[in-house]
């Protein structure tokens, strides 16, 4: 008999198969992830989690009998039945019983209709992005406002003593001493010892020769210094643009009565995408939610999406609030500012001029990116909205798109960023 300890064998033997399963279940899994992500707060979009998928899509079919025909089953635990008793069918139990005896063993654990899959954060996000067919987004370069900083860039011969590169200097000195064959202290010591020994002896000539040798060595030591000015190096610094590692994202949304749940859902998806996108790019991403009717207020996420208000619509109030928060909390030198605005496009007449001014002088120059998303009910072809027409006056203006259904979000998102990237390439 052998006892073998397998505990130390490499674990994760099933992981490749698990990956294959995820790939196989891809479509329904993506759907499940999409449903789950709509119920998650924006910030938790990329967290690990358990998704539930219907078992129907990943079945392994086999030939087996269905519920038709006569079935017989022997059961334990009879208490009262006698031969020939009739028992009324419970609704649905007839076919269910029959299925138990002949159903496929591979189907999984007796009539289970759904299937829970625990996904890691990365898997979840990949599926989320895959659903939006967002493959190359990370690779696309975003323009950044950079603050300049100093960056180490090699060595130089001159500089302030504070920047003395000691190691490099000593290395140069050492190699110079070796190249010029500067005698080592031990060598001199040995020569001196030999000279003294010879002096004590009686061979005058040899003593003389040794003494001369010693002197030659000492002379050489003096003429080749331990450290020479040519060895000295200083650390060199170069001014270089430094990417700002933090970004703030403003979600601005019109919450007046004309915005339906559907429109808010579209807006939420867009905000989510932007968040995912920024999060992969920056170390830290803050989100500010500003909602407005005829006046604007900064709120938390729950209120932002869920509570409803009545009132008119004055866009300039939200723009002003955004500007105020930027000036107060997010200095442009330290923060990349992204603004995404979602609205159904209604705006009070008379507000246009004010909005235009705020945009032109305030927000557009300050922000990295200003996206205006106009949301609408599916299949509606309402004419150009007030806000759209207003923003169209701006040049350079915000990137604008009109979206009426969830499926359009990603293409729009990509286009918004693509245009930006192209513009950059051409400039």
């Amino acid at each position: 008999m052998y006892v073998i300890d397998r505990r130390l064998n490499p674990s994760g033997k099933s992981l490749p198969n698990r990956q294959r399963f995820l790939r196989r279940a891809g479509k329904i899994l993506r759907e499940a992830v999409r449903n789950l992500s709509s119920s998650r707060p924006i910030r938790e979009i990329g967290d690990a989690g358990v998704v539930i998928i219907p078992a129907r899509g990943i079945e392994e079919p086999s030939f087996h009998t269905g519920g038709d025909g006569a079935h017989s089953r022997v059961l334990p635990g009879n208490k009262e039945f006698l031969e020939g008793d009739r028992i009324a069918r419970q609704s649905g139990s007839g076919s269910g019983r029959g299925k138990g005896s002949g159903s496929n063993a591979g189907g999984g654990g007796g009539g289970e209709d759904e299937f829970k899959v625990a996904l890691s954060a990365e898997e979840f996000l990949n599926l989320f992005l895959e659903d939006l067919e967002l493959p190359d987004l990370e690779r696309r370069k975003l323009s950044l406002t950079d603050s300049t900083g100093l960056r180490r860039a090699g060595y130089q011969r001159g500089g302030s003593p504070a920047n003395l590169a000691l190691t490099r200097t000593m290395r140069n000195a050492l190699s110079r001493r070796m190249a010029l064959k500067r005698p080592k202290p031990e060598e001199i010591e040995r020569a001196r010892q030999a000279a003294t020994d010879a002096e004590l002896g009686d061979d005058e000539e040899q003593s003389e020769a040794l003494r001369a040798e010693l002197e030659a060595l000492e002379l050489r030591t003096r003429s080749i210094p331990y450290i020479d000015p040519i060895d000295i190096r200083y650390r060199r610094f170069e001014p270089s643009p430094r990417p700002i590692a933090q970004a703030v994202m403003f979600c601005v949304m019109d919450v007046s009565g004309s915005m339906t749940e559907h429109m808010k859902d579209i807006a939420k998806r867009f905000f989510m995408l932007l968040y995912v996108f920024l999060e992969r790019r920056y170390k830290q991403v803050e989100i500010v939610f500003i909602r407005h009717t005829d006046e604007a207020r900064e709120v938390d996420e729950k209120t932002f999406f869920e509570s409803r208000e009545t009132g008119g619509t004055r866009v300039s109030s939200a723009l002003k609030e955004t500007l105020r928060i930027i000036e107060e909390r997010y200095p442009v030198a330290d923060w990349n500012i992204y603004i995404a605005q979602a609205s159904d496009g209604d705006n009070e007449s008379g507000d246009s001029e004010k909005s235009l001014a705020l945009m032109r002088e305030g927000l557009l120059p300050l922000s990295q990116y200003f996206a205006y998303l106009e949301v609408d009910e599916p299949h509606s072809d309402s004419p150009m909205s007030t806000l759209w027409k207003t923003y169209a006056h701006l040049d350079p203006g915000p990137t604008m798109r009109r979206v009426t259904s969830r499926q359009e979000i990603y293409p729009v998102f990509r286009e918004l960023f693509k245009r930006r990237a192209d513009a950059e390439a051409s400039s």
Partner: protein
């Protein structure tokens, strides 16, 4: 002999060795079991999950369905819905038993008695396993399969291999030979027989016979259908075998993959037919051994109580109206039947003498049971050895659900009139020939569009589940390369329903 094997719950490799040696003394020395050499492997919970996913085998080829099983078990396990089994045992030589590191010393003893001796004896001696599985070769074969399939994936692409395996898995339940068939003659004996025939011809040669007038040419009139059936070995119940040998459009590697799936299906086939017996044997053996250990003072009273606790859980059978009822627990049924047979051998009643004259009072339960373990499968075991006593104890009854009647009908209960009918009906539930739909390849339309024709012999009006049947047939058509027709035919030969499928466009 009365030394304690262990104290407390902790164990070490020495403990395991000691336990194994003592259990072996009892199993081989006293019960005279015959087993394959044992190999006990200690694994973690995670490795146990891996084991579940790969149908218990230590190595297996890659396929998403194993990943699916893994995700399923993992989910259940994480949420605490499901405890892991304490062991997995593999029908191989040496017989590998996996035991979990988290088991207590007592559990390890139980597992060794149950798996390393109970299951092991059954694997080695049951005629189905002897006839259909090659215990010494299985691990090597799996290694080959894994490497071969990985190689195919590299050469022909993961997708191509995956779709072929999907198709093969769908047909796996119909990829076994259910009854032993004529062995293939190998070429050496074939040559010898040809030489013998020639020698015989030469010996009886006589010129004289040449002078006889030639009679009418003797041709056997055979219809083209018969010739075709002979040529293709029709009707054929092993669909995967049929495809492997005759599907016109498969590449050699595809045939090899079908063969791998088919051989594995065949390897697992005896296990499907002997669930009750296999588990019953192992449970009976561990019960005997643990009692013996306790009698000999090898385990403490406390440990024995722990054993009784988990043993009781294992053989628990809730009644049909209990919320926990799912199906008949094979451990419970096997154990109940075997302990009852032991009772019949030792202390028979009048009833037992009527029902089991050959066993009652023979006083040698171990040999009687060993004979049963060797020669029966679930269906025959139940139909011969389910005693009235067990039926009464379990309060069994037969319920018939016939859609032609407005209500369910209690067909038989555990009384004098019902025992035999009850037993017959119960045994049929364990007959795969009865529960699995019987589907055969019956013909190929060679003169027309090469349509493959299959037939499902419907019993009791139980048609195939349409949706699944359609999907499987689609896979079948992919493999065959031409259209496929499946006829469902009742006992009188009336066609009930037809399914057809066309091959989907495939690159291969």
């Amino acid at each position: 002999m009365s030394a304690l094997l262990f104290e407390g719950a902790d164990w070490s490799f020495d403990t395991i060795q000691r336990i194994h040696d003592r259990v072996e003394e009892i199993a081989l020395g006293e019960m005279k079991l015959e087993v394959y050499p044992n190999q006990i492997e200690i694994i973690t919970a995670e490795q146990m999950l891996d084991g579940y996913a790969a149908s218990g085998m230590p190595i297996n080829y890659s396929h998403w369905s194993f990943g699916k099983r893994f995700v399923q078990h993992e989910g259940h396990y994480r949420k605490g819905f499901q405890d892991l089994a304490y062991e997995i045992v593999i029908n191989s030589s040496p017989c590998i038993s996996y035991v979990m590191e988290g088991n207590t010393a007592l559990m390890q003893t139980l597992v060794i008695a149950h798996a390393a001796f109970g299951h092991n004896h059954f694997f080695r001696n049951n005629t189905l396993f002897k006839e259909w599985t090659d215990a010494t070769g299985i691990l090597d074969y799996l290694q080959f399969a894994k490497t071969y399939i990985a190689h195919c994936e590299e050469t022909y692409g993961e997708r191509a291999v995956e779709s072929l395996l999907d198709a093969a898995h769908a047909l796996m339940s119909h990829g076994v030979h259910r009854s032993p068939r004529r062995r293939k003659t190998d070429f050496r004996t074939e040559q010898a027989r040809a030489a013998e025939r020639r020698a015989h011809d030469e010996k009886i040669y006589n010129e004289l016979w040449q002078t006889l007038p030639a009679g009418m040419p003797k041709t056997v009139m055979r219809s083209p259908e018969e010739r075709l059936a002979d040529l293709l070995e029709l009707p054929q119940e092993n669909i995967l075998y049929f495809l492997e040998k005759t599907a016109p459009r498969l590449a050699p590697w595809q045939r090899e993959l079908l063969r791998i799936v088919r051989l594995l299906a065949q390897y697992f086939h005896p296990q499907r037919q002997t669930k009750v017996m296999n588990e019953g044997t192992a449970t009976y053996v561990h019960y005997k051994i643990m009692n013996r250990l306790h009698e000999c003072g090898n385990i403490t009273d406390g440990a024995f109580l722990e054993f009784l606790g988990s043993h009781t859980n294992v053989v628990f059978q809730p009644g049909f109206d209990d919320r926990r009822f799912g199906a008949i627990n094979p451990y419970a049924l096997g154990f109940a039947m075997m302990t009852d047979l032991e009772r019949i051998c030792v202390k028979p009643t009048e009833e037992d003498r009527d029902w089991f004259p050959q066993l009652a009072g023979c006083n040698d339960p171990v040999n009687a049971l060993k004979d049963i373990w060797a020669n029966y499968r679930d269906e025959s075991f139940i139909s011969q050895f389910l005693s009235p006593r067990v039926m009464r104890d379990w309060r069994m009854f037969q319920l018939v659900d016939d859609p032609k009647e407005p209500t369910l009908r209690v067909e038989a209960i555990h009384d004098e009139r019902g025992y035999r009918r009850l037993r017959r009906a119960f045994a049929r539930e364990y007959d795969l020939g009865h529960t699995d739909p019987q589907i055969e390849v019956v013909s190929v339309d060679l003169e027309g569009d090469r349509r493959l024709i299959l037939q499902h012999s419907v019993r009791d009006g139980r048609l195939l589940a349409g949706r699944d049947a359609g999907e499987v047939l689609g896979y079948l058509a992919d493999l065959w390369g031409y259209p496929v027709l499946l006829r469902e035919v009742d006992e009188h030969g009336n066609g009930l329903r037809e399914h057809t499928a066309e091959p989907r466009q495939r690159s291969a």
